[in-house]
Amino acid sequence: MAKRRVVITGTGVVTPLGNDVEQMWQRLLKGDSGIKKTTLFDASTFPSQFSAEVPNYDHLADLPADMHNEYRQAGRNSRFIITAALQAWRQAKLPFPINERPAENIPANENIGVYLGAGEGPLDFDNFAAAAVNGWQNDSNEMDWHQWAQTALERMDAIRELEQEPNMPGAYLARLFKLRGPCMSCLTACAASTQALGEANELIRYGNADIIVTGGTHSMIHPLGLTGFNRLTALSTRNDDIATASRPFEKDRDGFVLAEGAGALILEELECARRRGVPILAEIIGYGSTADAFRVTDQHEDGRGGTAAVILALKDAGLSGEKIDYISAHGTGTVENDTIETKIIKNVFGDRAGHIPISSVKSMLGHLIAAAGAVELITCVLALRDQIIPPTTNLFEPDAECDLDYVPNHARKAELNVVMSNSFGFGGQNNTLIIRRWPSSL
C-alpha cells in the first residue's frame, strides 16, 4: 500500500508562556520562564511549591455566543484544547462554525477525525477529600462506605466527575467541529501527544482519514497530581530559586517542573492541502514507537527503547542520521532522563552526536506531561520556519555525562531542513517524530 504524504497546516497552543503560537515562540526565543509559585491551590507546604500554570483566560471568548452554554462547563484540560484547536483550525483555513454543507474541497466530515494525547481532567479534590475524610473511621481504621456514599451523593457533581474522563477533550473537539472520522485518545504518560501525532499521521497515510485535529492537553496541577509526582521525587524542589528550577542537562538539575497546557495541530493529506490552497507549515516524514520493556520505575539504562524509536523514525523517513539538523529533546531535567537521552543520541548518531544542536524547551515551559510532545513539535515547526533554534535555559554548568550541544541559554540561528522531536513516557513508552521544512529542499 502506497503511503500518502502528511503535512501540517495548522498549529495552536495554550501554555504558561502564552495562548498564542507567536507570543509563546517569541518568549521562548528570549529565554523567558513560565514558572512561578503555584496559585491554583495552596501548595505552600508541599515539597515543590511552584509550577508553570496557564494564566486565567476566558475559553468562551473564541466561541460564538450561542455555543457558550454547551462549552461553559468543560474541564480545565478540555478548555485548553478547545482554545488551541480553534487556533489551529482557523490557521488551516477550515470553516468555523461548520455549516451543514461542507465547503468546497473540504473532505466529508467522516474523513476528518481527532487523535489526542489527553490527560485526565483534574480531580474534584475538595469534595473527594471531604468524602474520604468523612467516611474514614479512625477507631477501626476502616472506611464506612455508608458515610462515604452519603457524602459523595451530597457533594459530588455529575459533570465534574464526567469531565475527568480522558476521552472528554477529544469528544469536545469532535462535537465542536462536527467530525465523524475516527476519534481517538491515548495516554502514554509523558509521550502521549507525540504518540497521538504519530498515530494520526498513520491514519492519514493509509487513507483512514484526510484531516486530523491532533495534539495533547493536560493539567496535573492539582493537589493529588503534585502529591503523586512529589512522592516519586520526580519534581524539582528548588523553592528558593524558582525561575531557574527547570535545568535540563545541567549538573545540579533536581527534577522536572510540573506545567499545564495544550498543543493542537492540523494534519492533512498533502493533496487535500494543495487542493484547498492552504499554506503548508511542514511535512511529517517519520515516526517511531517502541517500549523499553524494562521497569515501570526506570528507563532502560542504555536507552534501548528510546534508541530503537529514533532508529525506527529515521527508517520510516528513509533518512540517515546525517540529515537531522536539530533535536527537540524530551529533556525533562531529571537526573535519569537527561543522562539516558544523551546516551540515546550517541547510540544513534555516533560521532556526529556532538555536532547536532539539541535543546529542551521544558527549561522554560516546564513539563506539560501529556501535552508536552505536541507543544514541542509546534516549536519544531517554528524553528524550521524561522531557521532558529530555541535555547535550553538555566544551563549554567553541564553535567559531565551530558556532553552534547544543548544550545545553552541563547537561541541560535541555523540552517534547518529536517528536525526530530523525542518523547519518552514514564513506564517505558518511547516516541519519535521527524518533520521536514516545506517546501523541501531535499
Binding site: 491551590f41 495552596d42 505552600s44 507546604t45 508541599f46 515539597p47 467522516e110 481527532v114 485526565e120 475538595d126 477529600a129 474520604a132 475524610v133 474514614w136 479512625n138 476502616e142 472506611m143 462506605w145 455508608h146 456514599a149 452519603q150 459523595a152 451523593l153 455529575a158 466527575e161 464526567l162 474522563e165 476521552n167 472528554m168 469528544a171 469532535a174 462535537r175 472520522g181 476519534c183 481517538m184 485518545s185 491515548c186 495516554l187 502514554t188 504518560a189 502521549a192 498515530e199 493537589p223 502529591t227 503523586g228 512522592r231 516519586l232 514507537s289 517502541t290 517500549a291 523499553d292 520493556a293 521497569r295 515501570v296 520505575t297 527503547g305 530503537a308 514514564f426 513506564g427 517505558g428
Partner: protein
C-alpha cells in the same frame, strides 16, 4: 508489499463468568449470570448495589519471579490486564519471557507490541483515606497539613498504580514486548479501538504480533458513584441482581458495573501459519467514528456515529451487510441507548436485521468499561470458532420498534462466516470490528 492479513490466535478473558477462554465460553453456553450483590465493599447506601465481579487474582501465580516486586504497584485494573494478557499468550501457545521465564522464547521482542485500552483508574480509597486522615485537623482536610506531613503516608510509588499506560507497560515488561506500545483511553470503547489500531500496526508492517484489548474494574465505590451521578446505573433490581442487566428489554433499568478484561493475540497470518498456530478467526475490518450528544451521556438519537463505524468496518472488510450472521452490540441496558443502537443496526442491516443474530453479552457479566469492547470482540471470535451463539438473558420483552433478532432462550448452533462487534461510549466515540472465518 503483499497485503498482510491479521488473525486471532490467542484469547485471554477474565470477568464475572470466570478466568480463561474455556471457562468463560462454557459459562456463556450454560446460561450462567455473574451479576450479584456487590461484595468488594458495602454498597448499602449506593443507589445501585449490584455488579459483575471477577474472581480475586493471585498475582504471584501469574507474574514471573523476577517481576514479583512490581506486584505492589498493580491496581485492580492492572491486575486484570496482566491476567488476561497471560491467558492470551498461553492460549496462543507462544513462549515469552513471561510464560516461560527459564526456557527459550519464540517471539521476536522488537516485532511484538501492545495496545491496551484503559479507563480512568480509581485509586484505592481506603489507602488514600488513611493517608488523607493525616492531612486533616478537627475532621477538616487541610492542604497545608497534607503538604507538610500527610502526603508522607502515601507510598512513594503511589502514582504509578493509577497511570492508565501502566496496563500496557507491565505487560511489555513481563513478556518482553519492545515493539509499538500504546494505551487507548476512550472510556468504554477503549478496548475495541485498541484492537483496531493494533490490527493496523500489523497490516502496515510495524509488528508481527500485537497483544491488544482492554481491562477495567468498574466495581469500586468511585466508579459506581460516577455511574450513579450521571443517572445511568441500574437501581430497581438491587434485590434481584441476576435480573438487573436487561439489554434491549422493555424494562431496561440501567448500566450494571462489571470488572474484567479481554486481551487477544493478533498475529500476522504467515507468522501464525509458520508456527502451526490454531487460528480462531481473521480480523478483516475496523471502523471508528463519533456520535454527537448534547450532554455527552444521552446518545445521539439516530446514532449516526455508530452506523458510520459499522459501515466503515464492513467497507474495509469488503463485505455487504447481509453477509454478517452475528452481531455483538454494546447493549448497555439503558433504554435510550439501546433504542439508539437498535436504530443504527437497522439502518446498516436493513431487512437483514431480522436474520442477524444479536447477542448482548452484558446481561451476563455487566459492563467492564475499557475492557467491554475487547471482551465483546473476543466473544465474537469464540462464537465463530465454536459455531455457537450463546443466549442473551433478561430480554423477554423487546420493544417492537427495535426489531432485533435476539435469541433469549438457549444457545444455538450456527455456522458463522462473518461476525461484527460494535461499541460506543459516553463521550461519543464509536468503533466496530469485523471478524471472519479464516480460510
Amino acid at each position: 508489499m503483499a497485503e498482510r492479513r491479521v488473525v486471532i490466535t490467542g484469547v485471554g478473558i477474565i470477568n464475572a463468568l470466570g478466568i480463561g477462554r474455556e471457562q468463560y465460553f462454557q459459562a456463556l453456553l450454560d446460561g450462567t449470570i455473574g451479576i450479584d450483590r456487590i461484595q468488594a465493599f458495602d454498597p448499602g447506601k449506593f443507589p445501585s448495589q449490584v455488579a459483575g465481579e471477577a474472581p480475586k487474582l493471585k498475582m504471584s501465580k501469574i507474574v514471573p519471579k523476577t517481576q514479583r516486586k512490581s506486584i505492589k504497584l498493580m491496581s485492580r485494573d492492572i491486575e486484570l490486564a496482566i491476567a488476561a494478557a497471560d491467558g492470551a499468550f498461553r492460549d496462543a501457545g507462544l513462549k515469552t519471557r513471561g510464560t516461560d521465564p527459564d526456557g527459550p522464547v519464540d517471539i521476536d521482542p522488537v516485532r511484538s507490541g501492545v495496545n491496551i485500552g484503559a479507563g480512568l483508574i480509581c485509586c484505592d480509597l481506603v489507602e488514600l483515606a488513611a493517608a488523607l486522615e493525616h492531612g486533616s485537623e478537627n475532621g477538616q482536610f487541610s492542604l497545608r497539613k497534607w503538604g507538610k506531613e500527610g502526603m508522607d503516608w502515601l507510598t512513594p510509588l503511589w502514582l504509578l498504580k493509577y497511570l492508565p499506560n501502566m496496563l500496557s507497560c507491565h505487560i511489555t515488561i513481563i513478556h518482553d514486548l519492545q515493539g509499538p506500545s500504546n494505551s487507548i483511553t476512550c472510556a468504554e470503547v477503549s478496548g475495541a479501538l485498541a484492537i483496531g489500531e493494533a490490527y493496523r500496526n500489523i497490516v502496515h508492517d510495524r509488528a508481527d504480533i500485537m497483544v491488544a484489548g482492554g481491562a477495567e474494574s468498574k466495581v469500586n465505590p468511585m466508579n459506581l458513584m460516577r455511574q450513579c451521578l450521571i443517572n445511568r446505573a441500574s437501581t430497581h433490581y438491587n434485590d434481584r441482581p441476576e435480573q438487573a442487566c436487561r439489554p434491549f428489554d422493555r424494562d431496561a433499568d440501567g448500566n450494571v458495573a462489571g470488572d474484567g478484561g479481554g486481551i487477544v493475540v493478533l498475529e500476522e497470518m504467515e507468522h501464525a501459519r509458520r508456527r502451526g498456530a490454531t487460528i480462531y478467526a481473521e480480523l478483516t475490518g475496523f471502523g471508528a467514528s463519533y456520535n454527537f450528544s448534547k450532554d455527552f451521556v444521552e446518545p445521539e438519537e439516530q446514532a449516526i456515529g455508530i452506523r458510520l463505524a459499522m459501515q466503515k468496518a464492513l467497507r474495509e472488510a469488503n463485505l455487504s451487510p447481509n453477509q454478517i450472521q452475528l452481531l455483538i452490540p454494546h447493549g448497555v441496558a439503558v433504554a435510550s441507548h439501546d433504542r439508539s443502537e437498535a436504530q443504527a443496526i437497522k439502518a446498516v442491516f436493513g431487512e437483514h436485521t431480522r436474520d442477524l443474530s444479536v447477542f448482548a453479552t452484558k446481561s451476563r457479566f455487566g459492563n467492564c468499561g475499557a475492557g467491554a469492547g475487547a471482551i465483546d470482540f473476543a466473544t465474537a471470535v469464540l462464537a465463530l470458532h465454536e459455531k455457537k451463539i450463546p443466549a442473551t438473558m433478561n430480554c423477554p420483552n423487546q420493544p417492537a420498534e427495535y426489531g432485533l433478532n435476539i435469541n433469549n432462550t438457549k444457545p444455538i448452533d450456527a455456522s458463522i462466516d462473518h461476525a461484527m462487534a460494535c461499541c460506543y461510549t459516553y463521550g461519543g466515540q464509536t468503533a466496530a470490528l469485523m471478524i471472519s472465518e479464516w480460510v
